[in-house]
């Protein structure tokens, strides 16, 4: 399934690139300003590390197509998470993303009788549509860049998820993201409202014995630009709490993002993921590398 989808995304990207090449033989280089396409958040959308932003992935502008691929490693006290994926931005208007997450339970898996290093995996198909505004250039207007997004998630461990009280092994998040760069302050602010029933982003299924319908969650991030290439910031993401056996906490992080060129960005963060299943205070590092084409 994931392979076929990957193929589809690549095919779409290639077709679009060819169309673009034939339309404009002297294609100019990718047109967005450095770092203004954001980095890849853990579910594959363009954004910060944990939260999606209203920006469209890649460096493509109104008549260009941009794409990127990412790999992220989150290492907290009792678990680690690997995430990787691709995103394509079409004409700075529409974003299509595909990501896969693997959550390794390390010793907790053994304690729960699942086996040491038992992993929960899910794949995420994301789409994002820019509705209005330009986060970077509309400096004289008060309204932000606004985008509507959707993330459809499918978890591989349906039987286990039902055993721990989740309603379903698949679910869809809807979100509205607002992003604005305040250039005079060198500050990028972002707020996202997500309508979701995903437990731990979906790694622990969707809905549960404590709540089976979607709830509205808020996600915030702020980035202070130190130079064209370097930004530091913080993120906060509220989460639902649907599973009786596993209390879920809000997430937050402090990050530094560096883009040595338009082809590469590296994000390093310190994250606090709170309680996950039977392990409290899950803190550690987050490292993400993104290559843009």
């Amino acid at each position: 399934m994931i392979n076929r989808l990957l193929l589809l995304v690549c095919l779409l990207y290639t077709c679009a690139l060819q169309a673009q090449d034939s339309a404009a033989p002297a294609q100019s280089r990718s047109g967005k300003l450095l770092l203004t396409g954001g980095v890849s958040q853990i579910e594959g959308a363009a954004g910060g590390g944990l939260t999606p932003w209203a920006v469209i992935a890649g460096y493509g502008t109104e008549d260009q197509i941009g794409a990127n691929a990412f790999y992220t490693r989150v290492n907290v006290d009792d678990y680690h998470l690997d995430a990787y994926g691709v995103a394509v931005g079409f004409y700075d208007r529409f974003e299509l993303s595909l990501a896969r997450q693997r959550f390794d339970t390390e010793q907790v898996g053994a304690a729960l009788g699942l086996g040491r290093g038992f992993a929960l995996e899910q794949q995420i198909i994301g789409m994002k549509l820019r509705l209005l505004g330009d986060a970077v250039l509309d400096q004289d207007r008060w309204w932000p860049q606004l985008s509507l997004g959707v993330q459809h998630k499918r978890n591989d461990q349906g039987d286990l998820l039902r055993a721990i009280g989740a309603d379903s092994d698949s679910g869809t998040d809807y979100y509205l993201a607002a992003s604005k760069l305040y250039l005079a302050q060198s500050l990028l602010l972002n707020a996202t409202l997500r309508w979701t029933k995903a437990n731990q982003t979906g790694l622990l299924g969707f809905g549960g014995d404590r709540g089976s319908s979607r709830s509205l969650e808020a996600e915030f991030s702020a980035a202070y630009l130190l130079s064209r290439r370097l930004a530091i910031g913080a993120e906060y993401r509220t989460k639902p709490n649907n599973l009786g056996i596993a209390d879920e906490n809000h997430w937050w992080d402090l990050f530094v993002a560096y883009a040595p060129s338009k082809n590469l960005s590296v994000t390093l963060a310190w994250v606090d993921l709170g309680n996950i299943v039977i392990a409290d205070d899950q803190r550690g590092y987050y490292l993400s590398v993104q290559a843009a084409f």
Partner: protein
């Protein structure tokens, strides 16, 4: 039903014409921001500093394959002087901008968003070369960024391939 449809169409036509009318109001190419005067004096080195910055800026653009076509056959000295004047006025200096508005001065070129952003990047590199602090750079860019609306060629006026 027909009345509803025609009123919707009428409303759309009305908003359309209003939008077109608004497009004709071309903003001041050099709006003065007296509060930025310290930025001009301390960070950009006043008008002499701006003239030196523009020398560097033009050189960077002429070395850039994407930007060179817009400037290689242009009156570079006039453009540099008028850009310095324009920035001087915007940053609250006692200068006079002698150039045209941003629609008029870009009329002869087909300019895309990618071109606009490439120019911003060239300006950022030039400002870095001159040691202008990043925060001061951004205070100027904040005022220049919205000019993309006048500088870029409207889509309907671009040649169809």
């Amino acid at each position: 039903m027909r009345t509803i449809c025609s009123s919707i169409l009428f409303a759309l036509a009305l908003t359309g014409s209003v939008a077109i009318a608004q497009d004709r109001v071309i903003p001041d190419p050099a709006p003065a921001h007296p509060e930025l005067r310290p930025v001009l004096i301390e960070d950009f080195g006043g008008m002499p500093g701006l003239l030196l910055l523009m020398d560097d800026f033009m050189q960077i653009m002429l070395e850039d394959p994407q930007l060179r076509p817009f400037f290689e056959h242009a009156e570079q000295d006039r453009i540099k002087r008028q850009l310095a004047e324009q920035i001087c006025v915007i940053l609250g200096g006692d200068c006079i901008y002698s150039g045209r508005d941003m629609v008029e001065s870009h009329r002869d070129h087909i300019i895309t968003r990618a071109d606009f952003n490439a120019l911003v990047e060239a300006l950022q590199v030039a400002m870095n070369n001159k040691g202008i602090p990043f925060r001061a750079q951004n205070k100027l860019l904040e005022k220049l960024a919205p000019m993309y609306r006048e500088v870029e060629t409207p889509r309907e006026m671009r040649p169809v391939d």
